[in-house]
Symmetry: C2
């Protein structure tokens, strides 16, 4: 049985470098469709455009306008393919209006060799059963964020004060993550995981929508099946913007994705 | 008198969204032209394409082929301009071959308001006069890297062991930075500063060229004139690649630019 993710992100070739997709209403959050989900659809179209390079190594997306559930189109243009990597330009649009424009370099992570030397430290999370499930969010939150039904997130209790009106002020949100249907996340799925948690500004006492200007994800390994650990952190709020750094660690303790986005600060 | 940087990065409009440039041989390093310099030229062409939005907020560049000194062409395409930001696609090519393709969002950093809350910590550097000037590099290094003559870099002595065959292994290179001609760095210049220091892999005992796949720079403020502090750090070497995070701090102690690149690991 295909996973919900595979079904919701499926794309159909409609021409040379052209794909049709259907934005599922289950990914709505607030007034728009989750940016990570959109990037997943775009990422699948890119993968189909360069079949010998199935995995994103780096994807940079610029968000131009808010999406709505319903039909969408993806166009891809291979800029260079040779050796072990391919670079592709891609756009996701609706009715002729571009929603996201992106550049991507794809390769085959299984064929990438080399030592692993990671000095980054895995998020220190309490055991899953001591963490706070996203399903405990208030009904009024879940109503405007059906997105939350897609995931099984268990938040670090030290980072959920914002849900009770007492944000820590540290600029850190982290937790355990898996898909609600229990299917494992593949490399394209990691593009979505990097934008799945609430904006880290919640932890700074700034609730509200934080529109992404730019999001770059580096996928560094095929994740080992099982629970993922995800952290979102910001260290520089300035000029009405903030950066959000995300790390995704797999069940084998590998740092499988690193992302940074630049987003507009929510209005107080 | 114009700065060397302004002269070397000047672009001439040759059509609608088309610009001519001349890649100066003074920016060669090893077998190619420095990627940060190329990004500066591309960044200037973007600024000229959206005059009301003079400053890069975010630029993501994908490097497709190595450049050589001589004529180059930049094409820009405005994807969206409205409100306070504009998003532009840009390519830098030579004789019809694309060298860099990029996406960029520009705005006016002087018009961006909001609190500044930075928890990132400024690099701890010894006083300038206790640091190691780049001019102390061996003659054979300087011969293949005329790039080094463009800058006045004073390296933190704790991070230059690699120059004496004793890399620290920490994955950190940092130092004081200014242009050799004493001119201050503007926001477009910060795109270059983020790729000016030697690859951080030198500090891991991996000398040699580290080809950039992708580089994204976020410019967060107009730098206050004076010496900059620049750090390069890597925390995840894996799959034959590494990420390099750069921070640039100005003389007023503000974190004015943050960048991350994904690069290929040099061969041992």
């Amino acid at each position: 049985m295909p996973s919900e993710w595979d079904t919701h992100t499926s794309v159909t070739a409609t021409g040379d470098g052209l794909f049709g997709a259907e934005l599922d209403p289950g990914w709505v959050v607030g007034g728009g469709v989750n940016g990570g989900y959109l990037l997943g659809i775009l990422g699948r179209a890119v993968a189909e455009s360069v079949p010998a390079k199935p995995h994103p190594l780096s994807v940079s997306a610029y968000y131009l306008s808010a999406s709505t559930p319903g039909p969408a189109q993806v166009s891809t243009r291979v800029l260079r393919e040779g050796g072990s990597v391919a670079t592709v330009a891609a756009e996701l649009g609706q009715e002729g209006v571009t929603r996201i424009t992106a550049l991507a370099t794809y390769g085959d992570l299984r064929a990438m060799h080399g030592d692993v030397a990671t000095t980054a430290e895995e998020p220190a999370l309490p055991p899953i059963e001591e963490c706070v499930p996203g399903t405990m969010a208030p009904e009024e939150v879940r109503r405007i964020a059906p997105l939350m039904e897609r995931f099984d997130i268990r938040f670090d209790p030290a980072c959920v004060g914002w849900a009770m009106g007492a944000p820590s002020g540290n600029g850190l949100i982290q937790g355990w993550f898996r898909m609600a249907d229990g299917h494992d996340v593949d490399p394209v799925g990691l593009l979505m995981v990097c934008d799945a948690l609430p904006p880290v500004t919640f932890d700074l006492g700034l609730p509200g929508w934080a529109p992404t200007l730019e999001l770059t994800v580096h996928v560094r390994a095929v994740p080992t099946p099982g629970w993922l650990k995800v952290s979102h952190r910001t260290r520089n709020v300035a000029g009405g913007m903030f950066e959000e750094d995300c790390e995704v660690w797999d069940s084998a303790g590998r740092l499988v994705a690193q992302s940074r986005q630049l987003a507009m600060q929510p209005r107080r």
